[in-house]
């Protein structure tokens, strides 16, 4: 029984054959993260800072943008961008489609997090900083943002975790990331070991952050 389990799910021969695929896949996964996470954070931060406008119209539009991309399932957005854009005359590869779709999606989530974070900083902080003659930009970067980020750090980390997991969706448009390579390898060997190993790789990659997140949320809850 155990033998059958190992043979099916942790087959050493299959494992050895699939390692090169999985390693390549992991590198692509990390590449996507290196693109999407900074873009998402930059986008989100821009949205959150733009939200400080006095114009109610602009604030409404920003919220609409954020909610639109929070409601749009990322897989659907990806498929739409990948299969749809060529019909609009834009030839697009899977990596570009993934980057565009996921950046739009994740900047809306980061935007909402940063927005809430900035709002959570006491009004008095702004006033104190401006009263000492600090300009708007310096106030934001030196006084407000550090506190805002500290207030929402668990949510920021949590969302970044979600982005890494999001990359697995790119397998649907045949981007050779980790999940895709695992499925390719599984198709070649008729054995699900590569899938199990891929799951294990995600686990090893992300478990430390999941643990960290739990600890942070506990510590915040205790001080609340």
């Amino acid at each position: 029984m155990i033998e059958r389990l190992v043979d099916s799910f942790l087959n050493p021969v299959v494992l050895e054959a699939s390692v090169p695929y999985l390693v390549r896949g992991l590198l692509v996964t990390l590449e996507v993260c290196a693109l999407v996470i900074p873009l998402g954070i930059a986008g989100g931060l821009s949205l959150a800072l733009a939200y400080r406008t006095r114009s109610r119209l602009w604030r409404g539009l920003l919220i609409a943008f954020i909610d639109f991309f929070r409601a749009f399932p990322p897989l659907v957005l990806l498929v739409f961008v990948f299969y749809g854009l060529p019909f609009a005359g834009i030839e697009i590869g899977s990596l570009a489609a993934v980057t565009i779709a996921f950046s739009l999606n994740t900047s809306s989530f980061y935007g909402e997090i940063f927005r809430a974070g900035i709002e959570s900083v006491d009004r008095g902080q702004w006033e104190a900083a401006r009263a000492t003659g600090l300009g708007g930009f310096r106030t934001t970067t030196a006084v407000i943002l550090p506190q805002a980020v500290r207030n929402v750090l668990p949510d920021l980390i949590g969302n970044t975790l979600e982005v890494v997991k999001l990359t697995s969706l790119a397998s649907v448009v045949a981007l050779p990331e980790l999940l895709r390579m695992a499925r390719v390898s599984q198709g070649l060997t008729y054995n699900p070991t590569p899938l199990v190993v891929a799951a294990g790789i995600y686990l090893v990659l992300l478990w430390p952050f999941v643990r960290l997140l739990s600890l942070m949320e506990r510590r915040l809850a205790v001080t609340a």
């Binding site: 909610d67 659907v76 799951a199 809850a221």
Partner: protein
């Protein structure tokens, strides 16, 4: 411009796609409606079990919560659908999607409930126990009512995320919205069904996202 309309809002293709997308919406709703109660209740049960302070139980609960929050949901769905058969267990796409997403929701729910329970001040436990109320009654009457307020905003957000996650079920051949849309799109070589699918999802989830803003503001400051 007409090219755009022809490609993305093509009347003939839409006519074919509409009934299928509507059927897909039914499946999406059914799937979501079956996942949410299982996932949330399982998470609740696990968090209550965790209050028993059994180191043995806690270990398994924490491992469960960590694994199902760290591994991407799509990987879990694919494992359940494609790998379980090797153990002799062949689940339908719907069942696999229900099981996989319920497990993920249970893991997140457990952590959310646990964080809420532990943030209720210890003094509340002590006051209640000091009046001779047993542990179960204390949990039910004093701790939980206070914890629930804290749990509702993150729980709402996670439930919406899982609802959107049902789109992943298209990959394991569940006839929900995206699945139908990509099929018609492949057959007609026209992306209009995808436009319709996008609208369908937005119709389902945009109201929920807006409602969750209201929920967050209502439950945030009351103490």
């Amino acid at each position: 411009m007409t090219a755009f309309l022809h490609n993305f809002v093509n009347p003939e293709v839409l006519q074919v796609a509409l009934p299928l997308i509507l059927e897909g919406m039914r499946v999406t709703l059914l799937l979501t409606a079956s996942i949410l109660p299982t996932g949330i209740l399982a998470g609740l049960a696990l968090s209550v079990l965790r209050t028993r302070q059994s180191r043995f139980l806690n270990f398994f609960i924490v491992v469960f919560a960590d694994v199902f929050r760290a591994v991407p949901p799509l990987v879990i769905l694919i494992l359940i659908f494609f790998a379980l058969p090797y153990l002799g267990v062949q689940l339908s796409g719907f069942a696999a999607a229900w099981l996989g997403l319920s497990l993920v929701l249970a893991a997140f729910s457990e952590e959310i409930f646990w964080a809420a329970l532990t943030s209720v001040p210890r003094g509340q436990w002590e006051a209640s126990r000091a009046t001779g109320l047993g542990a179960t009654a204390t949990l039910r009457r004093v701790i939980f009512p206070q914890a629930i307020r804290l749990a509702i905003p993150p729980l709402t957000n996670r439930a919406i995320a899982i609802g959107k996650g049902t789109a992943l079920a298209s990959v394991i051949a569940v006839p929900e919205i995206l699945n139908h849309a990509t099929n018609v799109q492949a057959q007609t070589a026209n992306p209009s069904p995808l436009t319709l699918a996008a609208l369908a999802y937005l119709a389902l989830f945009l109201p929920l996202v807006v409602a969750s803003r209201w929920v967050e503001s209502r439950f945030r400051w009351k103490r």
